[in-house]
Symmetry: C3
Subunit: 326 residues, 3 copies
């Protein structure tokens, strides 16, 4: 059993949410179903439920983030949690405390749930291994390892628009090598029995063990998009250009950027996804991003419900019928 | 009809609050009356009403601010909103997203209301033109264009102390050229039928079209203050000195700084206002700022009620009788 | 009567919380008893009481802080306050406002309670002297003067583990000279009739008037720890090394660092405290910090209850039976 198993208790209930690895189809489906029940809350006049009332969630962001941090904070507010948000760059660590001391001190403040984003792979696991019983950890992105709530909001988006994973061909396009998002997506798509998962990337942006992940590898975007139902574009970190892994933005766009022209290779009703923030004109053409096949903004919206779902399941409430707060 | 009209629906109800231009006396008076009903809340033990309960307000400050941001946040808390505050310098835009992408992403988070301050004139209008129906935008200051909630809190302060605009002479003193505050004040004073509005400034700090705004122009402070009931001093941006628009702070104070001596030219019970933060000894003498004609701190207090009023009217509740939250 | 007396009204009720000096045993004990009643709240499902509902607390941190700021914010949330947190470096003062103008403007926002941390000794007193009646000030650390909520959470921790102050020998070890924490602790221990208070430090880190504080001075740690029940280690500011007050970290640890070996000089069931953040290997050995005599994390936990207690007493509610919020 991998270390990931600390995510579950002996009855298979969710204790932490660290990576898609180590989870099974039942629990992923429960997350999607629970999130589904929360989407209706968003349409109500009062978008709040008391599920985390009187509980405290600490958001620890060691890396900057708008989208992920904001949707976590909104999810927490809509669950009525007390919230402590620390931009950790500018606080304790300036006095030289270790990560473990930071954890221990915050834990002593009776935090019920930690949401952590950190530049080092394994940080969220480290936290989960060291918190005391009853305290939970959610991984909001750790190094190049995992970004499981992003993967689950992607799965939610795919199911919302395409229903049945077993009939779908999904292509993930771009910098697979450095992407925690891609890694988590591949695991989730496999666990949910997706018919075919492809990765499309230049050789320099592929991990050596790609095939072992159970995906088909393409180095040509036109071919990789053939008959595809879901296209997931990844953000290209511009730093890669400097690192000699890539020629130039222009050349990258010519080969791997998703243009309207290239999108024609996919199934006519294929959806286009991107975790954001996108580099318009680098990995994706503006007209595709804003086009009618794009579901990129739906992903953001669903991100709130998915994060509400994971937090709710951790405190023992799933498939919310969600009574309004009195 | 000017683009400003997107502020109102077909029945003249407030949808956005972007600039005083384009609004009429009825709606300005409704804002003042609604704000009046909120001032009593501030004196209660529990200063909260549930008007924005379960709604989410995003505060987007692209420029630093204490006074405006804090009073908006307090207004939102007292209306029981969920709040997302982004200091945009340090977040999404560091990854190079455009303003429109920032808007689209936040909107996808089901934000009900945006409060935006931005260094570019027209930013708030831009937001309002692009948000989807049902989402509102409040301008918390855009470039040198407008700062309408500031103007309305100033009108509230004037009405509070002086009652009838049609009997009043008001002088706005200082850097009219660069001031979004002055621009919004002049429009509001005119719409509310102020008897006389004067601007007092050196020629280098006056826009070319000043007279067309319906104001009288004075280049001499003593003369400009003659028989005045309300003196509004503007903050002098010290950058102007470097720009050769002005000689020196000392010289500026000698000519245009409001001293006790110069204030004697005004009506004996004239009130002195300033949007803050003031430069003591530059545009205003300390003893005037702290003197008994100063209502500068009242302006800050009224700012909360006025912002509560505008937000309430946008969600369809005005002249609040304001039941306490149960 | 010292200026400290502005902390109390004519009936001896707490108005502000600025320094331990000027308070008596009755009031310190009331704080401890009230905090005791709040510790049970922390164990409940819903950790909230409505004591500050509809009241606004402003946290003004002119110095960075994680522990103190976070526990204040959590205490305020658990008391259901509205909260305005200003990191003052990055806001108003960038426009050059004085401390008094900052105070006046925030006060005009109808703040009920200020929590202030500032690098200048006397800042919190300054605030308390200038706020209007009904507004309260809590000192979260001012220069090298006082840190009274830290001292009270330390007293709470000592009473929790050791019960009766009149039977205790307490040693405070380290940089007494620059420590606002030590100063406040010494006053509190004396007021609570501690049997013996010792300070242990190199001569260069002792104030000239140490003996007048009613403590015994030791320059040798082994001797200073003899028969001690409570050891309080202070953080060593590494800047002191550069200031020629100290030889080197290594040498400091050899002489004044609390190792397991040196701790054997104390009473076998002595507790070890530290206000944090600790420099492991400088003033305290890691194994002592994490050892079973350490109550350092308990201090953090108790800090929330103690801060809730002080704020509650100020609004007139002590020894909370603490009904849950409906």
């Amino acid at each position: 059993m991998p270390a990931d198993n600390i995510q579950l208790d002996e009855n298979g209930k969710l204790l932490h949410f660290l990576s898609i690895e180590g989870l099974n189809q039942t629990i992923l489906t429960e997350i999607l179903d629970t999130a589904e029940s929360f989407t209706s809350i968003a349409d109500r006049q009062v978008k709040k439920v008391p599920i985390l009332r009187g509980k405290t969630v600490a958001n620890l962001f060691f890396e900057p983030s708008t989208r992920t941090r904001s949707t976590f904070e909104l999810a927490e507010q809509r669950l009525s949690a007390d919230i402590l948000s620390l931009n950790v760059d500018t606080s304790a660590t300036t006095k030289g405390e270790s990560l473990l001391d930071t954890l221990r001190n915050l834990e002593a403040m009776q935090i019920d749930m930690f949401v952590i984003r950190h530049q080092d792979s394994g940080s969220a696991h480290f936290f989960a291994q060291h918190v005391r019983p009853g305290v939970s950890v959610l991984n909001a992105g750790d190094g190049q390892h995992a970004h499981p709530t992003q993967a689950m909001l992607d799965m939610f988006t795919i199911r919302h628009f395409k229903k049945d994973f077993s009939q779908l061909r999904v292509a993930i396009v771009g910098d697979i090598l450095h992407s925690r998002v891609a890694r988590s997506q591949i695991h989730a798509l496999n666990i949910l029995n997706t018919a075919e998962v492809r990765v499309v990337a230049p050789r320099t942006l592929l991990p050596v063990d790609t095939e072992s992940l159970g995906v088909h590898v393409y180095n040509n975007l036109e071919k990789g998009l053939k008959d595809i139902d879901v296209v997931i574009m990844l953000r290209l970190q511009k730093e890669r250009m400097r690192g000699a892994l890539l020629p130039s933005e222009k050349e990258y766009f010519r080969l791997y950027g998703l243009s309207q022209e290239k999108l024609k290779n996919a199934h006519p009703d294929a959806i286009v996804m991107h975790p954001g923030p996108a580099n318009r004109g680098v990995e994706i053409e503006s007209s595709v991003m804003d086009g009618n096949q794009s579901v990129i903004l739906n992903q953001v919206t669903f991100g709130i419900s998915v994060r509400m779902a994971v937090m709710s399941m951790i405190v023992g409430q799933s498939r919310q019928q969600s009574g309004e707060e009195s």
